[in-house]
């Protein structure tokens, strides 16, 4: 029996293309609507807005909690991102360059925070801090966020180290460089974008984290937690305005990163 191609081309592409486009539109729509509602003239978060105004943006700056939370989140994301990048690089060097028994095991251990659900990580740290020791809110959160972001950082740096030809370091040593010099002069410059991506990834993950953080912080904590409690109590367009500013900031951030390393490498 002869197979005939359908005259209008590839059915699978038509159907899948339609489904994919619809789904991508649907999951993007709420974010677009959020931006529009930020410019509402009234306190109703409706779309399309009934009149335009910037009052909700100025309202943000009257909400001290949002400003404080933003700075806390930024500081936390910066610190945990830097820490994860540093520790992740050290770990990645060992995992890519050294061969020893139990390496798979250590790799699994370092990746384990990715497998354990956030609620359980949050609860574990809550009980840990309550029963054993709590330093300060910032240090408690820093420990948690570094743990949450370390697997990403390790993985990203490891991938970028694995792309570097190990013969290069060897060639440098053969030409008279010490092991440390060859790492600093040959490997590190080539892994630079990897380190940056690791930091960036960690920063975003930390800034975004809600579930595990919520166990350690009620009001007066990170921005996502602050937003959560705000939404829980009232639904006016202030949160839309915060969201809009964050999205604008993120877009700017992504564009800068894209300029530096290319966004393809990040996602």
């Amino acid at each position: 029996m002869m197979q005939r191609r359908p005259a209008f081309g590839d059915q699978v592409h038509v159907v899948f293309g339609a489904v994919a486009a619809a789904v991508l539109f649907l999951i993007t729509m709420p974010l677009i609507i959020t931006v529009f509602t930020a410019f509402n003239a009234t306190s109703q978060t409706v779309f399309p807005p009934n009149g335009w105004s910037l009052r909700w943006f100025s309202n943000i700056f009257r909400q001290r909690e949002f400003i404080d939370a933003f700075w806390l989140s930024t500081a936390l994301a910066f610190a945990s991102g830097a820490l994860s990048m540093l520790l992740g690089t050290l770990g990645a060097v060992v995992l890519t360059r050294a061969s020893f028994r139990g390496r798979e095991w250590i790799d699994g251990l370092l990746m384990s925070p990715l497998i354990v659900p956030q609620v359980i990580i949050g609860l574990a740290f809550l009980i840990f801090y309550v029963k054993l020791k709590s330093w300060s809110q910032f240090l408690d959160l820093l420990l948690l966020h570094t743990l949450l972001t370390l697997p990403y950082a390790t993985r990203v740096v490891r991938a970028s180290l694995a792309r570097i030809n190990p013969r290069l370091e060897e060639a440098a040593i053969g030409l008279g460089a010490s092991a440390a010099a060859s790492f600093v002069r040959i490997t590190l410059p080539q892994a630079r974008s990897g380190l940056f991506v690791a930091f960036f990834f960690s920063f975003v993950t930390s800034f975004d984290n809600f579930t595990a953080t919520a166990f350690l912080a009620s009001k007066g904590a990170t921005l996502p937690v602050e937003i959560f409690f705000y939404i829980d109590s009232q639904l006016d367009p202030t949160v839309s305005a915060v969201a809009t500013l964050l999205m604008a900031g993120t877009t700017l951030f992504v564009l800068v990163v894209d300029r530096l390393v290319g966004v393809q490498r990040v996602t």
């Binding site: 590839d10 699978v12 592409h13 899948f16 293309g17 994919a20 486009a21 789904v23 991508l24 649907l26 999951i27 993007t28 729509m29 709420p30 974010l31 609507i33 959020t34 509602t37 978060t45 409706v46 779309f47 770990g91 060992v94 050294a98 020893f100 251990l109 370092l110 384990s112 659900p117 956030q118 609620v119 359980i120 609860l123 574990a124 809550l126 009980i127 840990f128 309550v130 029963k131 054993l132 420990l143 570094t146 743990l147 370390l150 390790t154 975003v204 809600f210 579930t211 919520a214 166990f215 937003i227 959560f228 939404i231 949160v239 839309s240 969201a243 964050l246 992504v254 966004v263 996602t267």
Partner: protein
């Protein structure tokens, strides 16, 4: 052994951190078995499994995680497929849309869905304006809202691993099957889908665990009317300081997650192992 000590030095900080993590996890397990006076007890587990409220929350979470994962797969596979098989333009747009999802803050994404699904949301306003409904339809603060929120936020978890695998599956296989006379749908079912099985499996594992242990989505889109096990754990631990009950519920949740992960993986191993033979 200079070499070994250098390894230890480089890995030390990371391992210390992970060590604290495991200590904290052990603390959860310990709390779930310890009575306030320090004696060993199964009371917390009895409290969890003896109370219909908690058992229901567990079963409800399992149920919604199952079908949310299934729907995520049905909706996510076409995206991953088109990202690797479709036009370049589609791939760019899809990457952009998923990047927006990835970089947007989870709380804000859920807030966005509240603006869509609420009584005053865009859907209800459209329904009322067109006269399709004469009172707002309840789209959130119920299971439907939670399911929508879960699927929307889990989609990237499904799409990324499948896409990663599909990018590396040569299209020559599909062309060969077409050349041998298979229809496009047949090629999809008999060639593309099986070859992307590793990605599908990890997508399913990630999505299932994410949905099963969700806290934020049911908290906002369920609004207290649809509580999942994550909400129960949070309420007990943060709201009531009942750490042992929260720990028992968490241990049960983790155990169920692990059983699901292991069984999906071993099922996958058997599936892929059979192919290798």
């Amino acid at each position: 052994m200079r070499h070994r000590s250098r390894l230890a030095l480089l890995l030390g900080p990371s391992l210390l951190l992970v060590g604290v993590f495991f200590a904290a996890l052990a603390g959860v397990l310990a709390s779930s078995f310890l009575a306030p006076d320090g004696t060993l007890t199964f009371r917390s587990y009895a409290a969890v499994f003896g109370d219909e409220y908690y058992v229901r929350a567990l079963l409800r979470s399992l149920w919604i995680a199952c079908y949310a994962t299934a729907i995520s797969f049905v909706l996510g596979y076409p995206i991953a497929y088109m990202m690797s098989r479709g036009s370049r333009r589609f791939a760019t747009i899809a990457t952009l849309a998923l990047a927006i999802q990835f970089f947007s803050i989870y709380v804000i994404k859920m807030y966005g869905w509240m603006l869509v699904l609420g009584n005053n949301g865009i859907i209800n306003r459209a329904l009322l304006a067109t006269g399709l409904a004469d009172a707002p339809v309840k789209l959130m603060y119920n299971e439907f809202g939670v399911a929508v929120g879960l699927i929307a936020s889990a989609l990237p978890l499904m799409v990324f691993p499948i896409n990663a695998v599909l990018q590396n599956v040569s299209r020559r296989y599909e062309e060969a099957a077409l050349g041998l006379g298979a229809s496009r749908w047949r090629v999809l079912l008999a060639v593309t889908l099986p070859l992307s099985a590793p990605g599908i499996l990890s997508g399913i594992v990630l999505t299932f665990v994410f949905c099963f242990t969700a806290y934020l989505t049911p908290a906002l889109l369920g609004g207290g009317f649809y509580k999942m096990i994550g909400n129960v754990i949070y309420d007990q631990a943060v709201g009531r300081f009942n750490y042992s009950l929260a720990a028992a519920a968490a241990a049960a949740t983790l155990a169920i997650s692990l059983v699901v992960i292991v069984s999906i993986n071993s099922f996958g191993q058997r599936l892929l192992g059979a192919r290798a033979r």
